[in-house]
Amino acid sequence: MKGKNAALLLMGAGAVFLVAGLMRGEAQVVFVKAVYICLECIGIG
């Protein structure tokens, strides 16, 4: 089943990416931006 194998491969690659991102500290960037009111999001800029 090609589709299933491709999905599993993508999930595996995604997991590697996710861990790599966590180790590089990207989650901290996401957190810092998300805990302040995003003026761009609400249209103040």
């Binding site: 090609k2 589709g3 299933k4 491709a6 999905a7 599993l8 993508l10 999930m11 690659a13 995604g14 997991a15 590697v16 990416f17 996710l18 861990v19 790599a20 991102g21 966590l22 590089r24 500290g25 990207e26 989650a27 901290q28 960037v29 996401v30 957190f31 931006k33 998300a34 805990v35 302040y36 009111i37 995003c38 761009e40 999001c41 609400i42 249209g43 103040i44 800029g45």
Partner: protein, 293 residues
């Protein structure tokens, strides 16, 4: 719409509403005009859920993607890309149909009666590529390359386009926060104009934002052909009656392409098939009927 179809549609609506309430459960934020600041904000949710929504307990993947790309410290985001790869590989556009707050808003708007609903949109085949322009240009290229003197970019899609941000964050925060009311300007008006246009179009057309503008939908659309959550068609049972296409509010010929990238997996076609030829398959687990007649 028959009884099982109505029951299925109500179940999906209830599921969507419960999910949105659960992931936007910081009710204090709506009262005070503030946002949640807990550790869960480092995690993304699968749908387009603005992290500045007063109730939001986690982050929007499109906002997070832009912010890491716009950061002067990173040129690529493994964290958000990995999250989208995993979510897309498991669910595909099931996320759009079941787990997206702005999708729910559009579903509710489409229920408003209007003289004539538009089923086939002129230029649909070209317009649907707009979401890839949004993804490529506003979410990736502009935040990465248009930077200030210290190398910091900005989230262009959030700033100039995203109507979900205006609805979920702009309206409640500006309504409840006097200091924000004092600084709204022409950009707020521009974003409101986009939101009002999307609201009006959502009454006429089923899910116009998902069809033509959503960059998150574009990501899941690319992955959907291989995702584990999929539909299978029993060709021996299918009589090509077209009941599935007639039931599909996106006008997809499901009997020809059961795993169309445009399909948001609402399940209307599965319930409408008189021969039960369409089935939901999740990896190797199959269910013959979703709702009993």
């Amino acid at each position: 719409m028959g009884k099982p179809a109505r029951r299925g549609s109500r179940f999906r609506l209830l599921f969507q509403a419960s999910y949105v309430a659960l992931t936007n459960g910081y009710w204090l934020g709506f009262a005070n005009g503030t946002i949640y600041t807990g550790a869960a904000k480092a995690v993304c949710v699968p749908g387009l859920n603005c992290y500045s929504c007063p109730g939001a307990l986690a982050s929007c993947p499109i906002g997070a993607l832009q912010n890491v790309l716009a950061s002067r410290d990173f040129q690529f985001t493994f964290y958000v890309a990995g999250f989208l790869m995993i979510t897309g590989a498991i669910f595909g556009r099931f996320v759009c149909g079941w787990l997206c707050p702005f999708g729910l808003a559009q579903d509710l708007l489409f229920k408003i009666p209007f003289l004539r609903k538009i089923r086939k949109v002129r230029g649909d085949r070209i317009l649907k590529y707009m979401k890839f322009v949004m993804l490529g240009l506003f979410v990736i290229i502009l935040p990465m390359f248009v930077v200030d003197i210290v190398g910091q970019g900005s989230p262009w899609f959030c700033e100039w386009v995203c109507p979900a941000g205006t609805l979920m964050a702009g309206w409640p925060l500006v309504a409840a926060n006097a200091s924000l009311q004092a600084v709204v300007g022409w950009l707020y008006l521009w974003k409101n104009a986009i939101l009002i246009a999307v609201i009006f179009l959502s009454i006429l057309i089923y899910r116009p934002f998902c069809r033509y503008l959503c960059p998150l939908g574009a990501v899941y659309e690319m992955i959907q052909p291989i995702s584990l959550y999929r539909y299978t068609l029993d060709k021996a049972a299918c009589t090509d009656c077209g009941a599935c296409q007639k039931a599909c509010k996106l006008d997809i010929a499901v009997h020809k392409t059961p795993n169309s990238p445009d399909c948001i997996r609402c399940g209307d076609c599965v319930r409408a098939c008189p021969e039960h030829a369409l089935k939901i398959e999740f990896a190797k687990i199959k269910r013959k009927k979703i709702w009993k007649k």
